[in-house]
Structure formats: C-alpha cells, structure tokens
C-alpha cells in the first residue's frame, strides 16, 4: 500500500457549552483513521454521529480537545491560519450545501481565483487556470463572469469542486457533496469525482450518510456511530459483510429499485430491528 497522507489519532472534539459551567458537548470520542495517497476513505454515519465534525477538525474549523492530526508527515492539529496556508494547496474541501458554500456576491471567476491569489499566483496566470478548471468540471468558460445564483445545484457543486481543485490538492475532504442533489445529478457528480481521482491521483475523505454512495466511491470505509468508529476496513468487506448491527441497519435501509428485492430487504431490516430492540 502506498504512503499514508492523512493520519488522525484519538481525536476528541468538544464544543464549548452555551451556558456557564455546563459540561462541554463532546462530538467525537477518540476517533482514529487514516487516508492513503490517491485512495478514498468513505466515512459513513447518521446525522449527529460526528462525521461532519471530523472533516471540520481536519480543516481547522472545529475545536480539538485532544488527539493528533498528521498530514503528509506534519502535525497540523493546532496550527495557526498562517501556517495552514502552507498546507491549503494540498488539503481542500467540498461542502455539502452548494447554495451557501459559494459567496453569492462574487462571480465565479473571482471565487475560483481566490485560492490561487492566496498562494501568490499572478492575475493572468490565475485567470488562465480558472478557465482550465471550469473545463475540467464540465462548465463552459463563459461561466467565469456569472454569479453562483445563476446555476443549478449540480452546477454549483461543480464550481465548488473546481475551487477545491484549483491548487492541485493531494487530499480533498468531501463533506456530503452529493446529499443535496437529485439521484441523477448525484450520479454525474460522482462520475466527475471518480474521473478526477483517476486523472490526478487525489485522495478523498468522503463523508456521507448514504452507504450506497460511500460504497460506490470508496476504497476503504469507516462507520461512525455516536462519535466513535464502530467498523473499519476495505469497502467491499464493510458493505458486504457488516459486523456491527448499525452498519447492517444502514445497509438494509437504502432502497433498491426492484420492488420484490426491496420487499425482501425491508423484511430483513424489520427483522433485524425487532431482534435489536429485543436485545
């Protein structure tokens, strides 16, 4: 196996309580995971399981109480924004909501040029790069002078992907990038992400609540339940022969398009639920 690009050890994240002297809210209870170069780790869990918090902690957007995050051999657990700039070229993000992740007041060209400007790339070079990026994600170069509100959800997510790609990152944290999209649009965006990985060798930390999506796009899968990783391993193993009851439930919960097969699945899920409730 190739080298490890991201390594998270015993990560604990605590949010400060709103009230004085209340106990801090612990969103993650010692999570460990690692992402290998050029591969995808799928992180699956329900809402409130802390999966988004892991992504935000890696990006320096969540308060880390203890544990370490190592990126390409450097400890980035508690680095300042300025130091983070060094890594921002290699570590990028795609957020879930394509409607609020793009500044509505800026045009697409400026949005995409922003990361390039931070790295000190000249305006002309940045402009040329932006055109290449738009082409890469399947948008016409005329999009450069338009504002995000002129695009549909799927197109906006393409713009967000282009922004993440701007600096040729080694790892992209994808925080539910397709959850807000229709199934057909989801399929197209997933295709794009797979193509990009094949072409550039970027690694993904792919966060989703949908086991089907995670199974489709990931090499390895980690299942997060109530702030802890309950199952971890190669995608095929975790999704085909799940060990933890939560993973089993997750697997049976996503519907299949064949009505008969879906009926069987549903009965299996209900049987599992009954047995779990009884236990």
């Amino acid at each position: 196996m190739s080298g490890i690009i991201l390594d998270v050890r015993d990560l604990v994240v605590e949010y400060k309580p709103k009230k004085l002297r209340a106990k801090p809210h612990r969103a993650l209870h010692g999570v460990s995971l690692s992402v290998a170069e050029g591969r995808t780790l799928g992180l699956v869990g329900e809402s409130g399981s802390g999966k988004t918090t892991i992504g935000r902690a890696i990006l320096g957007l969540a308060p880390i109480a203890s544990g370490t995050i190592t990126f390409q051999g450097d400890d980035i657990t508690r680095i300042s924004r300025q130091d983070r700039r060094k890594f921002s070229g290699d570590l990028q993000v795609i957020f879930q909501d394509p409607y609020t992740s793009l500044n509505p007041a800026m045009d697409v060209g400026d949005i995409l040029a922003e990361p390039l400007g931070v790295q000190g790339i000249a305006r002309d070079a940045a402009r040329r790069r932006v055109v290449t990026l738009l082409d890469r994600v399947g948008l016409p170069s005329s999009a450069i002078n338009r504002q995000p509100n002129e695009f549909s959800g799927g197109q906006r997510q393409r713009i967000a992907i282009a922004r993440a790609l701007a600096l040729d990152p080694k790892l992209i944290v994808c925080d539910e990038p397709v959850s807000a999209l229709d199934l057909t649009t989801q399929a197209r965006v997933l295709d794009l992400l797979l193509e990009i990985q094949q072409d550039t060798g970027v690694a993904y930390l792919f966060i989703s609540h949908d086991l089907d999506v995670v199974h489709h796009i990931s090499h390895d899968v980690a299942v997060l339940y109530k702030g802890e990783i309950v199952e971890n391993g190669p995608a095929a193993e975790v999704t085909r022969t799940p060990q933890h009851p939560y993973t089993k439930q997750l697997l049976l919960a996503s519907p299949v398009p064949d009505p008969t097969e879906q009926r069987i699945r549903r009965d299996q899920r209900l049987a599992l639920k009954t047995s779990l409730d009884a236990a």
Partner: protein, 626 residues
C-alpha cells in the same frame, strides 16, 4: 472528459445594475440631482455668492428680495442668498463629520464584535446600550457648555452618540454570514481574517451602510440646525439653523427670512431620506414580472386527445393539467403540461422525476397551494364528487373545504412546518379543534394516540416540547400524525424523506406504509428517488420536463422501463453498480437542455422552488394567530 454543460442565460445582476435601477426610479434621480445641486452650491459658494456671508450693510436690514440681494437681507443687513450658500457648506460638512465619526466607531466595532464574538462583543454591547440610553440633546447641551460653541465638537459628540446604530447594523449583518460555508471555504484556503472580512463580509454590510448613512446625515442636519436655531452655535459662522433663528425673531416683519433656510433644510433632509429609500429599493428589486393582462393564453390547438379517463373508482382525477408561470415576454411558461393521473382509494401513487420536472407543481395544484404567481392554465382536478378545478378555473371554496380535511399534506422540510413559538401539542390539536369541531381534551387524546401510532414512544413529552427539541425524523413523524389527525382520504407527500438520513427515511416510509394500510388512505408520493418508489408505491408516474412520460404498476415499470428517461433514473441508483467505476449516465444533465424554452422553464421553476408552501395545519395556526 465530461460534456460541457450549457448554463442558463440569465442576465447578470451587477453593482452597475443597482445604480441603473436607482436612476430609473424617479424619486432616486430627483433626490440625487437635488443633493448634487446642493453640494455644488456649497463647493462653489465663494464664486456664486455676491457677498461675504458676514458682510453687514446696516443701512439695508430686512430688505425685500430683489436688486443686489436676490433673497433680501437679514436683521443685520447680511445677504440671505450668500449666507444660504455658505450655510450649506457648514451644514453638509457637519453632517459628513458626524457620519464619519459614527462609521469610524460603529463599523470596526460591529465587524470585530460580530466576527469574533466573545468578551469584546459583550463589552461593546454594553457600551452601545449605554450610548443609546443617553439623552442626546442633553449631552450636546453639556458639550456646548464645556467646550464652547464649536459646531465641529458637537458633531463629533453626536457622531459618537449615534455610532451604536452602525455598530448594531454591522454586527447583526456579520453574525448572519460568519458561519456561512463560503467563509469556511475561505478559511480553508488560508485567507487571513482581515482578508476574509474585507472580501466576504464587508460586501454584506456595504449596502445597508450606505442607506444608513443617508438617513444619519439627515438626522445630523436636523440636530445641528436645531442647536444653531437655539442660538447655541458659533455666531460668526453662517448656518441654516442660525438663519432660521433670525427669521423666527423677525417673523412679523420679514416672514420670507424663515422660508429660505427652512426650505433648504427640508429639501436636503428629504432628499437624503428619499435617496436612502431609492438605494434600498434598487437593491431589493428583482426583475418584476407582471402577470399577462390577457386572462389566459390560448391553449395549443388540440394536438392531443383529451385524456379524461373517467375512472368511476378513482378518488382523485387530474386531467390535462397545465400550470404556468408568467415570463418576461408577458406570456406563461408552462412548467406542467397536460398531466393526467388518477388515484384509487387506498392506493399509493409515486410521482417521480428530477428537480424541475414539475412533479411538486402538480402536487401543489391539487392542494391549491401553488405560489401566487403561478396559474393553472388548463385541465381539471376532481376529488371524489367535488370538482376542484374545471377547465382551468379553480373553485376556491371547493379546495378550501377539502384541503386539510379530506386531503392532507406532508411537506419536504419538516422543521420549517412546525412553528417554534408553539408547543407541538398545540400545533397538533388546534387543527382538530378547528376542523373536526371536537373538544380540546378529545383532540389531545387523539393526538397522543396518533403519535404513538407513528412510533413515538413518549407522546406526552413530545407534545409538551417545541420544534427545536426534536430531531428531523421525529418532526416528520409529528407532521405525519398531524396529516392523519383529520382522517383524510388522500395524503399528498412532497419528498417527505429527502431531508432525512437513509435509516430515518426507511423508518418514515415504514410509518407511512403502516398508516396507509391501517387507515386505508390513498397516498400521492412525490420523490426523485426510484428506490423510494420501489419501497412504497403501487403505481408510478414518471415525470420529465412537465410531462408524464410513463405510468403504470410499479412492478411493471421498474422491471421493464419503456421510456429512456425512466431507464436513466434507474441507472442513477448505485445499488449493484461496479464500485469506483463511472456510471456514465446517458441523456442530458439537469438544466442542460438545449432550447431557450428550456431555460425559461427552468427559471420559472427556480422561482417556484423558492416558495415552498406550508402544510395546511401550519397554515391554520398561522392564519389564526396573526
């Protein structure tokens, strides 16, 4: 390489557009030109004014307008016109000084407090509250007593006193965007706080700041003139306020002396207020699309047979329904085209399609919940014996009599359909009391029973609670209970599980299925997920671009889809696909159709998407309590 996606050709809304819109507003251009005139007069006062403002011709006091004094002279024989021009300088500069001081304190304070929060926020809030509590005029009188009659010093103090208005404005604007994902994205890129504030946050504050400044300048002029009028200003400087005072003292001898400064003050303040309003209107203006004057466009001549399937058993029949939104050309863009469907009692019909396929618009037409701009252009909707829509005419009374009683609605966003101000119990029982006419106690009993049936273990606790205390899945159960509470014959569910996790989605579908079987209620389920259809529906209608392309029993359609679009929808399911391999969906992507007409339709639907209707239960409560 992916295909290049065509993007809708919407004209850009830029800053320049805002200016242009403002200039198109008659009040905007009027106030702007008046202000420009006053500013020019003030700037070129030394060139225009025939006299020095303090030159006193004691032999010619209180002269009538005319001759070398176009507006006459005052009680000391000074030329009124010259003093008016020089007074404009003082007045405008003092207003500017006041606004600059207020912005210099309020804007950075608000930015820092809003962006970082914490101790600075609490301390600065305390200061701002204190400043607002101080009686302004009294403070200014004290300042006058302590520092002498300088208009500049009193304006600096007034600027400090009024700075909380900027502080609060900025702070709340910043707070509303500081957690937006695009600000997070900028942090990830490594932008410094200063750059994030200047690039992403200041732009939110800019427009309200300009409007506020126009208004504050008006207030400053009023206060400054008031002080001068009272005789508290510098007697050596010409000002509109002191002219007003002089005119007041000689009102019986020379009434016109009051007129000129009063006009100047009034016009300046009025223009500033109008300017502020014009800017606001220009910023808020979306292209106003007026509904066509013609009552309805002529439907395309009968290219199709009218699809009135007179199914005697059907509980709901929709025939040839077309829904349109007005467009810029004064026509209607049809987002639903000649849709026909029927639902039998106790049957689950799935309506499936991508966003923009018109599936939700079809459902809203049945509920009579289309956005106000939308219009049913043709077709009929019959629910049992009641005709809700006949040949495009909506029978409002028939719809009102049935919605919420016979046809219930489960919305897409459970949370936004629960009012945060009322307990869940109130929101469940109120519609029952109103619509079924039962007592409060019986309604509460029924609500408890329903909550238990939709799988809520502790109904009493949930009923006492508020919307923010429950999860999304729980909220959707509550809304299902609410939808069932008035014993409907048909439930229309618009993407009821889209906002939920997969596991919760499965549970909510279980609840809908169980309820549907136990109570024998028919369901029209709108979704984009073929898997959901396979799970719950008996029959399915596939919608694409406002038309039903395929319809039939689920077992048949999903096993042997005839239409390529149905196949595309099925191909987008990930189950059973080779992992890590692109799916390579055929057919055009959403919003990537090739015709102008398609753009137009997409725009109309986008406009419609912004206006999700409330559930009838939520609406009952809303209407009652306003």
């Amino acid at each position: 390489m992916t295909d290049v996606i065509r993007t809708p050709s919407v004209p850009k809304r830029s800053q320049r557009g805002t200016l242009r819109r403002m200039l198109r507003n008659p009040l905007g251009i009027l106030s702007l030109s008046l202000l420009a005139l006053i500013v020019l007069a003030a700037v070129f006062a030394p060139l225009i004014a025939p006299f020095d403002p303090n030159y006193a011709d004691v032999g010619n006091t209180l002269a009538d307008p005319g001759g070398q004094n176009p507006l006459g002279t005052d009680s000391a024989g000074r030329d009124v016109f010259s003093r008016l021009l020089y007074g404009a300088r003082l007045t405008l500069l003092s207003a500017l000084l006041c606004a600059i001081v207020a912005i210099a304190i309020g804007l950075p304070g608000g930015l820092i407090a809003g962006y970082y929060g914490g101790p600075f926020d609490s301390t600065s809030n305390w200061f701002s509250n204190m400043l607002m509590a101080l009686p302004g005029i009294v403070v200014l009188l004290v300042v006058r007593a302590a520092f002498g009659p300088s208009v500049w010093i009193s304006m600096i103090f007034f600027g400090i006193l009024i700075s909380p208005s900027y502080y609060r404005l900025t702070r709340s604007a910043v707070q509303s965007v500081r957690n937006e994902l695009y600000v997070d994205a900028a942090r990830v890129v490594g932008l410094s706080d200063a750059r994030i504030i200047s690039r992403h946050i200041l732009s939110v504050v800019r427009a309200p700041l300009i409007i506020q400044t126009a208004l504050i300048c008006g207030v400053a002029i009023a206060v400054q003139s008031g002080l001068e009028f009272l005789g508290l200003g510098d007697p050596t400087a010409a000002s509109w306020g002191s002219m007003l005072g002089d005119g007041f003292n000689n009102i019986y001898v020379q009434p016109s002396l009051m007129l000129w400064p009063a006009l100047a003050i009034g016009i300046t303040i009025g223009s500033l207020v109008l300017l502020g309003n014009a800017i606001r209107d220009a910023l808020e203006d979306r292209r106003q699309i007026k509904a066509p004057r013609r009552p309805r466009p002529v439907a395309e001549a009968g290219t199709r047979e009218p699809a009135v399937v007179d199914d005697a058993e059907a509980i709901l029949q929709v025939a040839d329904l077309s829904v349109g939104y007005p467009n810029a050309d004064g026509e209607y863009t049809r987002v639903v085209r000649d849709v026909s469907l029927t639902i039998r009692p106790g049957e689950v019909l799935g309506l499936v399609g991508e966003s923009g396929s018109g599936k939700s618009q079809t459902a809203f037409s049945i509920l009579g919940l289309l956005p106000r701009t939308a219009r049913i252009l043709s077709g009929s909707i019959r629910f049992e014996e009641a005709v809700l829509v006949r040949d495009g005419e909506v029978d409002v009374n028939a719809v009102l009599g049935i919605r919420g009683r016979r046809i219930a609605y489960i919305p897409q966003e459970p949370m936004s359909n629960l009012d945060p101000a009322f307990t869940i119990g109130h929101q469940l029982t109120r519609p029952m009391v109103k619509l079924l006419g039962i007592s409060k106690t019986r309604a509460a009993e029924r609500a408890r029973d329903l909550l238990r049936r939709v799988g809520i273990a502790d109904p009493d606790r949930v009923m006492k609670g508020y919307a923010h205390e429950i999860s999304g899945g729980m909220a959707q159960r509550v809304l299902i209970a609410g939808a069932l509470s008035c014993e409907p014959d048909l439930i229309i569910a618009d993407e009821p599980t889209t906002a939920l996790d997969v596991t919760v989605q499965a549970e909510v579908l279980d609840v809908i299925r169980t309820m549907q079987r136990e109570l024998g209620v028919a369901v029209l389920l709108v979704t984009h997920n073929i898997g959901v259809i396979a799970d719950i529906a008996d029959r399915v209608a596939v919608m694409r671009q406002g038309e039903i392309v395929e319809t039939g029993p689920v077992d048949e359609i999903l096993r042997r889809p005839a239409h390529p679009y149905t196949r595309t929808l099925m191909a987008s399911m990930l189950v059973g696909k080779e992992p890590l391999m692109p799916l390579g969906l055929s057919g055009p992507a959403t919003g990537a159709e090739t015709s102008e007409e398609e753009d137009e339709r997409q725009r109309a639907l986008d406009q419609a998407d912004m206006q999700q209707p409330l559930s009838p239960a939520a609406e009952t409560i809303l209407r009652e309590d306003i």
